[in-house]
Symmetry: C2
Subunit: 347 residues, 2 copies
Amino acid sequence: MPEPRSGSRPTLEAVAALAGVSRATVSRVVNGGDGVRPHLADRVQTAIQELGYIPNHAARTLVTRRTGAVAVIIPEPEARIFSDPFFSRQIRGISKELTAHDTQLVLLLVEDHCDYDRIERYLAGGHVDGALAFSLHTDDPLPAIASRLGMPTVYGGRPGWTAGPGDEDRVTYVDADNREGAREAVRHLLGQGRRRIAHICGPLDQTSAADRLSGYHDVLPAAGPELVAVGDFTAAGGAHAMAELLDRDPSIDAVFAGNDLMATGALRVLRERGRTVPGDVAVVGFDDAEPVAESADPPLTTVRQDIEGMGRMMARLLMERLGDGREGRNVPGPVITETALVRRASA
Amino acid sequence: MPEPRSGSRPTLEAVAALAGVSRATVSRVVNGGDGVRPHLADRVQTAIQELGYIPNHAARTLVTRRTGAVAVIIPEPEARIFSDPFFSRQIRGISKELTAHDTQLVLLLVEDHCDYDRIERYLAGGHVDGALAFSLHTDDPLPAIASRLGMPTVYGGRPGWTAGPGDEDRVTYVDADNREGAREAVRHLLGQGRRRIAHICGPLDQTSAADRLSGYHDVLPAAGPELVAVGDFTAAGGAHAMAELLDRDPSIDAVFAGNDLMATGALRVLRERGRTVPGDVAVVGFDDAEPVAESADPPLTTVRQDIEGMGRMMARLLMERLGDGREGRNVPGPVITETALVRRASA
């Protein structure tokens, strides 16, 4: 900060004077209290309370090497982050868990790859203890940056990249069982007698999209490429893909969309083309993040993933990894959470 | 960070060795190059490029007293931040301006007042150069924290608080002309022959809500309290207030809502009660942040404020205030931006 700190802020010296102990004793209490006799520690705590003293964490960081803050990095345009409830849900889960650990969530926005120079400088500056990152694409520079900086990082979503040789074993991530979730969606459509089942997949440089496409093909190995269109996980992308599919094959009687937003775009195009849902075409989405699936017209049958729970789990794994500062090299394996089909009117 | 930095990260010493200069010379180049002969500076820059050296900003901060980062603090529940496009617009404007200044945006979420202890510690830790805060309520502890820490801060919205004696003159803020915008909305409804014009106002511990209510009363000084209901800037709050108003006075023929989300809630209740819009009841909102007003049914006449522009202006004023580190005491006055009525089908 360019301005000198206000003179009215209580200092370490003031705490020491009020408690009648040395500066070193106050410092030891502030940094965990090791080796301070209990009655002295009590006197220091009372003086801290009385003066409203706030430890200088820049100095504290030099001792504990901790900032009490964690970065959350989402390499998606801010317009997507604020329009797809998936992101707010994941952040909500992360926020709850970090708050329970009295740790500050620091959200860093990444509009495009150019921003990474600045983000690398910020991460290198020692302002956070670790990072949580999700919605990465295969060409994302973040894993290499985190690896270079030795920054403890937990990812949301199976990595589609490796930051270096042997890196797979050092990456902790949380994901839903996207492939099995997709299989269940397609089996449900088959079970309802649908025979021309199309798939609108997300961007294939994201493993969530690729894994859901694999699940579709697991159940329908004979489905040709004319039944698959690529969207971008937005409603507009889903609408565009739906129009493309209907142009290619007007006999389509079901669509499995890779997320709920794309499914709402598909619903709009089906309505514009005079197709009833689920009468003419059944539609299944993926996510079940409020309010999209429930408030769609008709409400969407979808594959629910526990988005908030995954966020909490990411934060918990990072907190475990940070441990007490001595277990920093403990890298837990991935956590894969189950999905569940939620049946509503659209299929 | 709990892990020692990876041994493979290039050090200042490595740069000095490769460039054939002293550590002090490298340090001077990294911190701006004052007093370093150009050919030596070139050699250092080349070595930095070659090794991919990243300066230790913790150390650099001790020299320049700058982190290159700015906190954005929004004391609203995360559910509101992600559902009202006002917030993403403001953040977009801030983000664009900070990016233009190669400054990192650090978003800090505040779920409730308990979070402020942690936020104060983070701000006190020297991890950001300044702060931008918006959507404050009158009892918000942030202004006092910023004042105590001497943290350069620019606010979005006219302050409804003072952090201390004489503080009014030291507060920089950006706001829309809420009062005149409200007057224009109500005058428009009068001009269309409406005679029982109600107002749904936002929470009155926010000056934006209070100023819009004042504008309503400026034009309709005789309007009684039965024509005003308090919402909370959400669609659900607007619906609740609309129902209350209709119960009190079924002859209402127009509603000015304090923001677009509350207006959409009002539209829903009017539809449920069999009132046509604008036939039976005309509705005007406030904000015009996509997609709410345009995609409402019917599309909303509303008071547009330049939300993104206000965000940019907040960031610009903070950057000016931070200046080159020597003009830190320069506090510019408030900036008030104009509003404009946008006419659509609802009124």
